[in-house]
């Protein structure tokens, strides 16, 4: 719940003042509706889009089984939305997205990665919703087990966890 609170604050700062005000006004219920992460930059809405749990259902959740960088050799059930579906959902344009984490880590990821591979923005791993302590709220996961060529430091660096925002630039 603390994490959700924090994420709300982040998104409020990024969204239009009007939206921020509206969300701030609805204090109680707004907590339950707190967004997971934000998509900013060149998107169809022309402004920052806050992604909620409900959006994930609209986008369509996917699940793959793969090993994950930073979690060793074991296989994990990774669940979330396909990045290319997210790009389509928000109408994002551009060649790269800048993915920023809660701790300030940021990495440019080519959109072509999402077209070529089933890259997942995971919000659940092995059936557990990701808390900040488990590198939540969202984690970019490449299907390393399905594509051995992804087992590379480049893709490891792009596997951003604790994703706070995705910026089309």
């Amino acid at each position: 719940m603390r994490a959700v609170f924090q994420a709300t604050a982040v998104v409020l700062a990024l969204t239009l003042p009007a939206i921020g005000a509206a969300m701030g006004a609805a204090t109680g219920p707004a907590v339950a509706e707190a967004p997971l992460y934000a998509v900013t930059g060149k998107v169809a809405a022309g402004t920052a889009v806050a992604i909620h749990e409900a959006d994930l259902k609209a986008i369509g959740k996917t699940e793959i089984i793969t090993s994950i960088f930073a979690l060793g050799a074991g296989q994990h059930r990774v669940s979330g939305v396909l990045m290319r579906d997210l790009v389509k959902y928000v109408g994002g344009t551009g060649e790269n997205v800048k993915v920023t984490a809660l701790d300030g880590y940021a990495m440019d990821v080519p959109v072509s990665d999402f077209m070529n591979y089933d890259v997942i923005l995971a919000t659940e791993i092995d059936g557990r919703k990701l808390a900040i302590r488990e590198k939540g709220p969202a984690w970019i996961v490449y299907p390393v087990s399905q594509h051995p060529e992804l087992n590379d430091t480049i893709y490891e660096a792009r596997s951003v966890w604790q994703v706070k925002s995705i910026d089309f630039n």
Binding site: A3, D103, Y105, T153, Q162
Partner: protein, 400 residues
């Protein structure tokens, strides 16, 4: 046989190059990239330390109650720090046992400490000294642990860097070898190609020489070195085809007294006399003249000019050939009769017509007592009836 040897040599060269290159390539491939794992490790440690410092500052702020950091922010810093410790745990799969020997106890201690203070952090209130003390004690121990891990990673990274530098030097040397070997191979190939090119050139030259030799054989009279009948016929054809145009004059030369030389001295002497005649003919004719031996003691001369020019040539020829000629201690006297004709461009076959007319004129010259030149036109006009008048001044000279 030689061709097979050539391919064999080239194959051997290629195989040697590949073998040498393979050795060098293994030198390049030998560069280890495992120092990258330690660079990453250090980066992770730096981040861990950063998160630790941030949480420590946030906790201090909440403890002081200065309002600059909310309790929620402080707790998120704690969560991020927590997630970082997990990362360090996993990362150790990349590194060596010596490093793990330092890392494992520190990381165990670290996660232990975090678990211990979890409830304390969740409930930290401004001015809560006991809680603040517990957090500070854990963080101080964490700082020490991070310091020892960082130290271990630096040491290991340094060791690997030196190793990597040495490997890079070997790789650079290997690259040098490859480039050098390649240059040698290219040079060898260029030399080989140049040699082949030269050989081809020599072969071409030999072919060209043989070709000109064949042309010479087919167009030159072997005894006198003059053009032969075949070449003469070709030139006549050129006249008929219009590729040799001009006011042409033909002189048919027939030797006088040659039969006697042949009969008395034999064919060998006759041949020698013909050779001398050939040089005298060459000396007597103007430049650019066609001179051919048509057979036996008959020669043909064709050149451009007026009939007066032809008469001049005839005179020079008669004078030249009439000079005393000695061979094998014997002196031979021979002369020349000449029939002259000018080209009739309107004839169906100008060359045949000219040859025919020159032949008739020659016949007339013989009939007039030899040693003279007769132009065909003289045959068609009354003077032909007075043989003594028809003899050209040159011919008279020659007879004298």
């Amino acid at each position: 046989m030689l061709k097979g040897l050539k391919y064999f040599a080239v194959s051997i060269l290629a195989v040697v190059f590949v073998v040498i290159t393979r050795n060098d390539l293994s030198g390049i491939r030998g560069i280890s990239t495992d120092s990258a794992a330690y660079t990453t490790q250090l980066a992770e440690l730096t981040r861990l330390e950063k998160e630790m410092l941030r949480f420590r500052a946030d906790a201090a702020s909440v403890f002081r109650g200065d309002g600059s950091v909310s309790a929620d922010d402080m707790r998120m810093s704690f969560d991020i720090l927590w997630s970082r410790v997990n990362v360090q745990h996993v990362r150790t799969s990349d590194v060596t046992l010596e490093v793990l020997g330092v890392y494992n106890p520190v990381l165990l201690q670290l996660s232990d400490d975090l678990k211990k203070i979890d409830a304390v952090v969740a409930g930290l209130k401004p001015g809560d000294s006991a809680a603040w003390q517990a957090i500070e004690t854990a963080m101080a121990r964490t700082a020490l642990g991070i310091s020892s891990m960082t130290n271990q990673s630096y040491t290991e990274l340094n060791r690997r860097s030196v190793q990597s530098t040495l490997q890079q030097r070997v790789a650079i040397k290997s690259l040098d070898h490859i480039v050098r070997n390649f240059v040698v191979l290219i040079l060898a190939a260029i030399i080989f190609l140049l040699w082949q090119f030269r050989k081809t050139e020599q072969l071409n030259e030999a072919l060209r020489q043989r070709e000109s030799e064949i042309i010479r054989i087919t167009k030159v009279d072997p005894l006198t070195g003059l053009n032969n009948r075949r070449h003469f016929d070709e030139r006549m054809q050129a006249i008929d085809e219009g590729s040799w145009v001009g006011n042409l004059q033909m002189l048919l030369v027939d030797l006088d007294g040659f039969k006697h030389v042949n009969d008395s001295g034999g064919h060998a002497v006759g041949d020698e006399v013909l050779k001398v005649v050939a040089t005298r003919l060459l000396a007597a004719i103007p430049a650019g003249t066609l001179l051919a031996r048509l057979g036996g003691d008959e020669f043909a001369i064709v050149h451009e000019g007026s009939s007066a020019d032809a008469a001049k040539t005839a005179h020079a020829v008669i004078v030249g050939i009439s000079q005393p000629l000695s061979h094998s201690g014997r002196e031979h006297r021979i002369g020349a009769s000449i029939g002259i004709a000018s080209i009739s461009p309107d004839a169906a076959s100008p060359s045949s017509a000219m040859l025919h007319e020159a032949d008739l004129a020659l016949y007339e010259a013989k009939a007039r007592g030899r040693g003279c030149a007769v132009h065909f036109t003289e045959l068609r006009h009354p003077p032909a009836r007075k043989p003594e008048n028809s003899v050209s001044p040159g011919a008279q000279n020659a007879l004298a």
